[in-house]
């Protein structure tokens, strides 16, 4: 519960005319629950509220910032009792429980017409039962962040095929370093590895069918994915004791040069820079091809805003979502966030990694997945990621792990 905006508008009224022209001024209240207190996201949402306030000086806007992790459990309470007018959440299956319980407002009307076309890249991720349930405001690419200087020292270039990736890794191992840092204490980082290995081994359609529960976990193709993973495990490619670290605690290995690369989302760039890596030392490359000929698909988790079904000021909320999704605002917001705008007419921030991500996702012919724990149902995600962590520590348990996951899948399908 941090900041409240009341009539901040007065001094800022000048920027309104451009974007405000489309809609008439609105009064009344607007309560926003935003799910991030970190400095950049906080600045982004506060900036958006200020500009929106300037367009509607009579509106009484109340912004509440909730801790990102706390929001994941609090959402159940506030959606069912004393709902705000807007809340922050995630795309994909992650919103399904709330959609099915009738707690999110159908906002398909916002997706009709031009705005829907501008946001087309995430339409599928925002759609359940043929309707859209929120609007996206940002997303970010996943890929391999690596130490350019170490690669240069060893005479390596980023791999484009699996064979090259393993060959590079062997050289890195021989130099006394680990290939990849990772911290699996909170499990989801292992989900990122599984996503990419499976997307590259079996392709986007298979991956989406698997996370949707349509394919048995004991399928040979799933085993192929794990076999590829096992090649890296047998080489000793990952840092030791990764079960003890969070993703942040795994960073120093790369910063200190004990590990050469990190499969991660673009949010890793800011802390890496803060830790002292320059843009000459830190590079980015796409996860290499594994099965030749499969179109490259990527993970790009999308963060979204929704209107709770019990919101009291839905008209104001719709106006805010429309503004949040507009090309102008998404450009500004993502400049602050250091991430990618979803609106295709928005300006992409001039930054090495964001530009690389924009390039990567614009050419993602295979498709764009959200992330393992957003594509799979909550229970499948939880069981799956525990299985991935176990596999990374005890790869010989694979059969037991897959049997267990298959058991969960069958139970979920039966329910």
């Amino acid at each position: 519960m941090q900041s409240i905006f009341k009539g901040v508008a007065a001094g800022l009224a000048m920027t309104t005319l451009l974007a405000g022209a489309a809609s008439a001024e609105l009064g009344g209240d607007l309560r926003i629950f935003f799910d991030d207190q970190n400095p950049a996201p906080k600045a982004a949402i506060e900036g958006t509220v200020e500009r929106f306030q300037a367009m509607h000086p009579d509106m009484n806007i109340e912004l509440t910032l909730i801790d990102r992790e706390a929001n994941k459990t609090q959402i159940r309470n506030y959606l069912t009792a004393n709902a705000p007018d807007i809340n922050g959440w995630y795309a994909g299956n992650r919103m399904r429980p709330y959609v099915e319980a009738g707690l999110f407002e159908d906002v398909s009307d916002l997706w009709d017409g031009q705005l829907g076309e501008e946001l087309a890249s995430t339409r599928a991720a925002m759609t359940i039962d043929g309707k859209q349930w929120g609007v996206p405001y940002t997303y970010y690419q996943w890929g391999i962040y690596y130490r350019q200087d170490i690669y240069e020292e060893l005479g390596l270039t980023p791999a484009t095929t699996w064979e090259e990736e393993k060959a590079n890794c062997q050289v890195i191992l021989d130099s006394g370093r680990k290939c990849y840092t990772i911290g699996t204490r909170f499990l989801w980082t292992a989900g990122g590895w599984f996503d990419y290995l499976n997307l590259r081994t079996n392709g986007y359609d298979f991956h989406m069918a698997l996370t949707a529960g349509e394919i048995p976990w004991t399928d040979q193709r799933v085993r192929d994915t794990f076999a590829n993973w096992r090649e890296l495990l047998d080489m000793g490619a990952f840092i030791d004791d990764h079960t003890a670290y969070s993703w942040q605690e795994a960073q120093p290995f790369m910063v200190n040069g004990e590990a050469a690369a990190y499969l991660m989302g673009n949010f890793v760039v800011a802390p890496m820079r803060e830790a002292g890596l320059t843009d000459d030392q830190l590079g980015f490359y796409q996860f290499p091809e594994i099965t030749p000929g499969i179109p490259m698909a990527e993970d790009a988790p999308t963060d979204t805003l929704h209107i709770p079904a019990q919101a009291e000021n839905k008209e104001n909320a719709r106006a805010f979502l429309r503004y949040m999704a507009s090309a102008e605002n998404q450009g500004i917001v993502n400049e602050t966030l250091g991430q990618l705008p979803v609106n295709r007419n928005a300006t992409v921030p001039d930054d090495k990694f964001i530009q690389a991500g924009f390039e990567l996702l614009s050419n993602a012919e295979g498709g764009i997945a959200q992330f393992f724990d957003r594509d799979a149902s909550a229970e499948m995600a939880s069981a799956g990621m525990q299985g991935f962590q176990e596999f990374m520590v005890l790869p010989d348990n694979l059969d037991a792990i897959l049997d267990r996951l298959e058991q969960v899948r069958q139970r979920l399908n039966a329910e």
Partner: protein, 303 residues
């Protein structure tokens, strides 16, 4: 209160106040105990018969949740860990006794030493968990350099499924030993010096003195120490949550944590299943609670 007239001029209240007063004083306690403890117990039984995600419609499925529990490897892991907690946590009692005997002497500044030994119990369990998590951390923790001094290999205590539960229990013992120590220190104050003197004249000393003279007099303290330690072991939720989140891959879960994980955590939407685990945990505790109540009742009668 009373509408009836009676010849002596004494009201219903006057005649019955001796009997009614205790119930009136107990009423608020009983009401809240019923509302927050008794009724939820029955609600848990009821919810455990349903499939419910906490948001939508609940569907009656009979004993299906219990049926699944029987096939659930994670459930047995948690149960086994509960047993480990119960057994190993009791080490706090001899530990506390030993320190209490050691500190029960008149030396300059003994109060300071006593407070220092009691200190870990004052810190919140969450903080103890954090401190131990850092201590065990394989890259920055103190544990591995210390092991290295003795020529022992590096350990990843919290990341290894076979050591993780013991690592957390060790962290939990630290404040629990302090608690038992304070119980015994107060108990030692009540030890009758005449008896000790008499025993000494009879030639008792050392372990014999401890076993036959001191310990029997410490029985009340021992009883309380067992009670609080068993309760502490069964509610060992916070440390697990802070130190490992039940991991790696669920190997440090206890029933209480597993219940939280399946029903209330980030990915938990199985209220019915969580309730079924809660019922099993409740039944296990019931055995202990019944024993505890029976002993209390017996001592009351003897007393």
């Amino acid at each position: 209160m009373t509408a009836q007239t009676d010849p002596q001029g004494t009201s219903w209240w006057r005649r019955n106040q001796m009997r009614a007063a205790p119930w009136l004083f107990l009423a608020p306690g009983i009401a809240f105990f019923a509302l927050y403890v008794i009724i939820p117990i029955f609600q848990s039984f009821q919810i455990s018969l349903y499939r419910w995600d906490g948001l939508g419609e609940a569907r009656y499925i009979g004993l299906d949740n219990y049926d699944q529990l029987l096939d659930d490897a994670a459930f047995y892991t948690s149960l086994m860990n509960n047993v480990k907690w119960l057994v190993l946590y009791l080490l706090a009692i001899p530990g506390g006794l030993f320190i209490a005997l050691f500190l029960n002497q008149q030396v300059r500044g003994i109060r300071l030493y006593k407070s220092l030994f009691f200190f870990p119990f004052v810190i919140s369990q969450v903080v103890v968990g954090l401190v131990f998590a850092w201590f065990y951390n394989p890259s920055i923790g103190l544990l591995n350099p210390v092991l290295d001094l003795f020529g022992l290999g590096p350990m990843n205590v919290l990341g290894n499924p076979s050591t993780v539960t013991y690592g957390i229990i060790a962290a939990g013992l630290w404040p629990q030993i302090a608690y038992c120590m304070i119980l015994y220190l107060t108990g030692l104050n009540a030890v009758d010096p005449d008896q000790v003197e008499a025993a000494r004249l009879d030639g008792a000393k050392g372990l014999k003195m401890l076993w036959y003279v001191i310990l029997p007099q410490l029985r009340p303290a021992t009883f309380i120490a067992v009670v609080v330690t068993v309760i502490g072991a069964l509610r060992s939720f916070d440390m697990i949550s802070v130190m490992t989140n039940g991991g790696p891959f669920g190997s440090s879960r206890v029933l209480a944590y597993y219940m939280f994980e399946v029903s209330l955590s980030e990915y938990g939407f199985r209220m019915g299943y969580g309730a079924a685990i809660a019922v099993v945990l409740f039944l296990i505790m019931l055995v202990y609670i019944a024993f505890f109540l029976w002993r209390m009742w017996r001592e009351e009668r003897e007393g």
